[in-house]
């Protein structure tokens, strides 16, 4: 077990900079999820930690050791791949034991470790099977078993659940959580799935285009997104954004519409983006309404209803209780819950918090 530290890590392929200086401190035993859209560099970052990609500049420390120039096997890490990367011609037992065999562990030690991992992951009856005889979830568990037997300082997960169906994903998510609870090994988990990120992370790193947009606990990221990108990426359906110029009476929108929202005095006169999460809108009387939504379409999700509609020319979404079913064309007066407005600078996208 060890802490993991990235110091201004950069990566370029030729003249293209993929990772533009990332610094993350991961405490011993912490479970950190790196989340971002595809192509943001999150997998590359993980592979750099693993030693599968060279580091262009910066430093990566595992424990107190700079590992920039160490081979993957010497970094004391274990990695779980998206496609499992099990050796197809080896049995489950051989798959798990392979790394230990290369390290030259005694046969009895290997067997003890394999048995222990098999017990944790409930793979006991499958040890003699080949990967192709296993289901997706079982393969995933074998891949995790192969990581566990190494007893590494750091676990690296590269989108490990992407190839599973929705139900298995929920189950494996739970198992990964349980595993981390039992072993307490420092873990870095890369995913594009925000649900995985929110549920698994002790802290999460939101990345976009090679930079870290925000590092924080899931609730921090959800409640106080540091940038407009984070606000739009985390949360489903995505946050509603309205862009406009603030004046004394509210926000003058780009299309000329006016939103009678109380703008904090410090932001007056600036070009702003107002963000409201769909779940923070509620139906009210026309007098109390911040705006009126022209209903376009509604989606019944069972527990609640998503209402898509137009305010001026902006397409907005509200997540309302299942009791609401406005028909298309109907005007729906909405107001935000108290304290649920987010302000971002229109040019930089940075969160603005006037006190």
């Amino acid at each position: 077990m060890a802490k993991l530290e990235l110091r201004n890590v950069k990566k370029s392929f030729g003249s293209t900079e993929i990772i533009k200086g990332v610094s993350i401190d991961i405490a011993d035993g912490e479970f950190v999820v790196i989340v971002g859209p595809s192509g943001c560099g999150k997998s590359t970052l993980l592979r750099m930690v693993a030693g599968l990609e060279a580091i262009t500049s910066g430093e990566i420390l595992i424990g107190d050791r700079i590992v920039n120039n160490l081979e993957p096997k010497d970094r004391d890490i274990a990695m779980v791949f998206q496609n499992y990367a099990l050796y197809p011609h080896m049995s489950v037992r051989q798959n798990m034991a392979y790394g230990l065999k290369i390290r030259g562990l005694a046969k009895s030690d290997i067997e003890t470790r394999v048995q222990r991992a098999a017990k944790i992951l409930e793979l006991g009856g499958l040890l003699t099977r080949r990967p192709r005889e296993l289901s997706g979830g079982q393969r995933q568990r074998v891949a995790m078993g192969r990581a566990i037997v190494r007893e590494p300082s750091v676990f690296l997960f590269d989108e490990p659940l992407s190839n599973l169906d929705a139900k298995l994903r929920v189950q494996m998510r739970f198992e990964i959580q349980k595993l981390h609870h039992n072993l307490g090994t420092t873990s870095v988990y890369v995913t594009h799935d925000q649900v995985e990120a929110m549920t698994l992370a002790e802290r999460m790193v939101v990345m976009s285009a090679g930079i870290t947009e925000q590092i924080g606990t899931p609730s921090e990221v959800y409640e106080r997104p540091a940038t407009q990108f984070v606000a739009g990426f985390i949360g489903s359906p995505a946050m509603n954004f309205l862009r406009g110029r603030a004046d004394a009476s509210g926000l003058v929108l780009a299309d000329g519409g006016r939103l009678g929202v109380p703008v904090p005095a410090a932001l007056s006169g600036r070009e702003l983006v107002l963000g409201i999460r769909p779940e923070h809108l509620e139906v009210c009387t026309p007098n109390e309404a911040l705006f009126t939504l022209q209903t376009e379409m509604r989606e019944m999700l069972g527990a609640d209803t998503l209402v898509h509609g137009l305010f001026g020319k902006e397409l907005l979404v509200a997540r309302l209780s299942a009791a609401e079913h406005p028909s298309p064309g109907q005007a729906l007066p909405l107001r935000p819950l108290p304290g649920s407005l987010h302000w971002f600078d229109a040019a930089s996208g940075a969160r603005l918090e006037p006190t």
């Binding site: 592979r47 693993a50 030693g51 599968l52 081979e71 993957p72 096997k73 890490i77 274990a78 990695m79 791949f81 998206q82 496609n83 499992y84 990367a85 099990l86 050796y87 197809p88 011609h89 392979y98 790394g99 290369i102 390290r103 192709r132 192969r146």
Partner: protein, 282 residues
């Protein structure tokens, strides 16, 4: 076929049986010829039923060779052919799997240049480079040796190319997982790549063994001593020119013997051979 009309089934079977008969009939004639005396084979009509001389004919060619023809015993020639075919097949597989491994898994300067150099030699048949190759082999004193018979035929662009294509289908993550497990490049090759290539190796072995066994021109050039002849040359040598009578019974016995090893290799490895050619699942 989706259709199940009886007439169509009959037609298909009849066609297949007829084709097989066309292919097998010469072989049958050859076999029958190898069971008669030389005299009988010169009389009209050709026999279509086995004679009584089979054991004697085969014992003669295997043990002594054919009277009057300048050849060693067929047993000796079969051994020569076997050594040559095995050296070529195994040598080609070893060299091409290693070069394909280097080309796919390593980054080195001029990698693509080397790949294309290998690839271009695909277009050059043995006959094109036969004179310079002969000169080299002769200067190295390899005439009438097993090395001279097999080494010049070992380099193989086809096999390298096939292995390269196969290696490209192995997911990169396997290599990365092996690196994290601490396997060196050659350990990865030995523990992961080689077992995964088993069926491909088997398929190639069949093809290359037959290729090596059937070589005619090259052994003809580099062997001058009878005891280094391969069986394919031997058959030709048994047919003397001029007016001398041909011992067709013995020639056919030799031909039957020359057929046997490749046929045996195909029969034994058929299952793997087919798997290696069609199996894409890993």
């Amino acid at each position: 076929m989706i259709e199940h009309r009886p007439g169509f089934t009959f037609f298909c079977h009849a066609l297949l049986i007829a084709s097989i008969a066309v292919v097998l009939f010469p072989l049958y004639i050859g076999f029958i010829a190898s069971t008669h005396t030389a005299m009988r084979m010169l009389q009209y009509p050709l026999p279509l039923l086995p004679g009584a001389e089979m054991l004697k004919n085969y014992a003669t060619v295997l043990g002594h060779g054919v009277e009057g023809a300048s050849t060693a015993p067929v047993g000796r020639m079969m051994f020569n052919s076997l050594v040559m075919a095995l050296s070529i097949a195994i040598g080609k597989i070893v060299i091409s799997i290693l070069s394909a491994f280097a080309i796919v898994y390593f980054r080195f300067p001029l990698k693509n240049f080397f790949f294309w150099m290998i690839f271009i030699t695909l277009m050059l048949p043995v006959e094109v480079r036969i004179l310079p190759t002969y000169k080299v082999v002769a200067d190295l004193g390899l005439l009438d040796t097993y090395a001279g018979l097999s080494v010049p035929l070992i380099a193989s662009a086809t096999a390298t190319f096939l292995f390269r294509q196969f290696f490209l289908t192995i997911p990169d993550e396997l290599m990365e997982a092996a690196r994290i497990d601490g396997a060196s490049a050659m350990r990865f090759f030995w523990d992961i790549v080689l077992p995964l290539s088993k069926t491909n190796i088997a398929a190639l072995f069949v093809i290359l063994f037959i290729y090596g066994w059937n070589q005619y021109l090259w052994p003809l050039l580099v062997t001058t001593q009878e005891n280094m002849y391969t069986v394919v040359i031997g058959i030709k040598r048994m047919i003397p020119g001029g007016d001398a009578a041909v011992s067709w019974n013995l020639v056919m016995a030799t031909a039957m013997l020359a057929l046997a090893p490749p046929a045996l290799v195909v029969l034994v490895m058929q299952r793997w051979f087919v798997k290696g050619l069609v199996d894409t699942e890993k």
